[in-house]
Structure formats: structure tokens, C-alpha cells
């Protein structure tokens, strides 16, 4: 057994799976994550789903935090961070419930954090050999905000909106206090960078969603870039919140 594997056995790892109306995908995602992250605890954050997500979550036997109403992806993920902090986890991995993330990469993300390569390690779809297939405007939006984030933090970021991330305790502590609520993607990374947290990216394979539809496919998707721009511009005028 290598040193990293031994370190992993001693480390409390939590995999957070935020879920909103994911009754069709959740069980498969849980099974896959369980099979690849055997020593990690799992936590479903049911973000006020209106379908049977809560029942599916209960059937899987995984711990679930059921939010009384929908807070949005940022609020749901932050709930997971708060839970991790309350319960003494050292490493947290965020995985989307829609099954788009290949759980085979979980270990790589966790290892990178344990090796101290960065405080936040993002699984990037754009660093993978085969670029992700997604709608034109969504792809454009992700590329634009990744470019903007890269310029602001002066570090190349290829996939600012990836929901496949691993974080150490310091990053979890920071995000449990400071996390953008609605569309946290680029803003969270800028916040983290300004707080002195180190960010890295790893290539991960991306799969298209099998069932249901993304929350970003709603008409709010048009509103998203405007809101994100306002958040980022406002953030740049604020004082930094150092963690170290």
C-alpha cells in the first residue's frame, strides 16, 4: 500500500452530492460513487426537490440533508460544506447528482488535495483529450467565464463551472462562510484566490446527462451571465478575506 493510500485511510473524506429534482439519476450516481470511493462518506444535499429525490435518497441509505426549500446550487453546496465542517471532515469532494461526472476520477482529485498540490482541485472537462459536447451558448458561456476568471486570478482556468471539485479543510472552512448562492462558479474561484487559497485543475471525463434536464436549461440561463458579471465586478471592489 502506498503512502497516499495510507494517508487516505486516516483521512475523513466526504463526497457531497447536491440534488435538485434528480430522482431518475440519483441512485445510479450513488452506486457509482460508492463503488469508487469506498472509504469516503457520502452526503446527499436535497435542495428542496419537488419530485421523489428525498425518497430515493432515503432508499440508498446515504446520509441526506433535506433543505426545506430550494436554495439554488450554491446554497446546496454550501450546506454540504457546513455539514463537513461540523462533522470534522478533512477532504470534501463535490459531485453532481446527474451522473455527468465519472467517479473513476474521484481518487485522483482526492489524492491531489492530500498531496497538497492545491486547496481546491477542479475536475476540468476541457483538459480531457476529448472536449465535452454541450450546447453552443453554454459552451461559450463557460469558456468566457473561465477566460475572465483566468485573467482576474492570473492563473489559467479552463473549466470554472465544473461541479466536480475536491477541497481541503481550509477551503471548506472558507466556503462554509463565504460562498456565492445562485451561480457560484467563477465567483467562488475568484473569492478563493483572493483569500489566498491555491487552485489547480485535473482532466476528467464528462458524460452527457441521461435523464432529466439541467437547471441551466431553464430561461434563467439567459439571466445567469448578467448576474454573474455583476457579482464578479462587485466582488472586485470588495476587501479581500484572507484565510492565512
Amino acid at each position: 500500500m502506498d503512502l497516499l493510500a495510507m494517508e487516505l485511510m486516516k483521512t475523513k473524506v466526504l463526497v457531497i452530492i447536491p440534488a435538485y429534482n434528480e430522482q431518475e439519476n440519483l441512485a445510479t450516481t450513488i452506486d457509482e460513487v460508492r463503488s469508487k470511493a469506498l472509504s469516503a462518506d457520502l452526503l446527499i444535499v436535497n435542495d428542496g426537490s419537488r419530485d421523489e429525490t428525498a425518497i430515493v435518497a432515503e432508499k440508498t441509505g446515504v446520509n441526506a440533508v433535506n433543505l426545506p426549500f430550494n436554495l439554488g446550487i450554491g446554497g446546496a453546496v454550501q450546506t454540504g460544506f457546513k455539514y463537513a465542517l461540523h462533522n470534522g471532515y478533512n477532504v470534501v469532494v463535490q459531485v453532481d447528482a446527474d451522473g455527468q461526472h465519472d467517479a473513476a476520477y474521484l481518487r485522483k482529485l482526492i489524492d491531489s488535495v492530500l498531496e497538497g498540490k492545491a486547496d481546491i482541485v477542479i475536475g476540468s472537462r476541457y483538459l480531457y483529450d476529448e472536449p465535452p459536447k454541450m450546447p453552443f451558448f453554454r459552451n461559450l458561456g463557460i469558456r468566457y467565464f473561465s477566460w475572465l476568471t483566468s485573467k482576474i486570478i492570473r492563473q489559467k482556468i479552463t473549466d470554472c463551472s465544473s461541479g466536480f471539485r475536491a477541497l481541503n479543510r481550509e477551503a471548506v472552512r472558507f466556503f462554509s462562510e463565504n460562498y456565492p448562492v445562485d451561480f457560484p462558479d467563477a465567483e467562488a474561484l475568484i473569492l478563493a484566490h483572493r483569500a489566498g487559497l491555491k487552485i489547480a485543475e485535473l482532466p476528467v471525463r464528462f458524460r452527457n446527462r441521461v435523464n432529466g434536464k439541467s437547471s441551466l436549461s431553464s430561461p434563467r440561463f439567459l439571466y445567469y451571465p448578467i448576474k454573474e458579471m455583476l457579482s464578479i465586478l462587485t466582488l472586485l471592489t470588495k476587501r479581500r478575506e484572507p484565510t492565512r
Binding site: 446520509n63 441526506a64 433543505l67 436554495l71 446554497g75 450546506t79 457546513k82 461540523h86
Partner: protein, 122 residues
Amino acid sequence: MSRALEIAAITGVVLIVWVLYLYRKGRLKEDHALLWLFVSAVVVVLSTWTDLLLAINWLVGAEKVSDVVLAAFVAFLLVIGIYYSVKISELTEQNRQIAQELAIIKTNGMKIEDKKQDSNNK
């Protein structure tokens, strides 16, 4: 006093009574009640003290007294709109924090209950 000013004065008095009623019933908090009482008092004072209204009219160089009243009303609505947006934003943030804490406490409580049951069964 013109008919319009008489109506304004009566409206101001009715507003004061209504605000006091809502406050007594506990449907308005102190700071909100004070705000609306102040606004109602301003309406009553301006509509009964014609000289003051004319002085303001002369000061801002408006053509008609009604222009001053209308402009003041629109400005007030803008300020009050922003004030309530701020309040709603604060409440949304507090609501989010409470929802998160409540959900975590419930989950942790259930975990403790499960552990207790397991140890009782053993």
C-alpha cells in the same frame, strides 16, 4: 385651502390612524410604523401649512405646487423601494442560513438517534 389639499390632509390623518391600528395589532414593527407615521405627518403638515408648501415651491422653482408634491412622492417611492429591496435581501440571506443550519441539525439529530437505537439493540 384647496379641495386637493383638504383631501391630502384627510388622507394623511387616515394613514396615521391606519398605521397606529396596524402597529397595535402587531402587524407592523416599530421601525416600519415610525417610518409611515413620519410620512403621514409630512403629508398632513404640508397640506395644512400652505405657506410652507408655497415656500418649497418657490425654493425649487416649480411652476405648480402639485409638481412639487408629485416629485416628492416619486422620490419617496424610489427610496422606499430600495429600502425594502435591502430588507428583503437581508431576510433572504438570513432565511438561507436558517434553512441550512436547520437541515444539518436535523440530519445530525437523526444520526444520533440511529446510533442510540443501534446501541440499545446490542
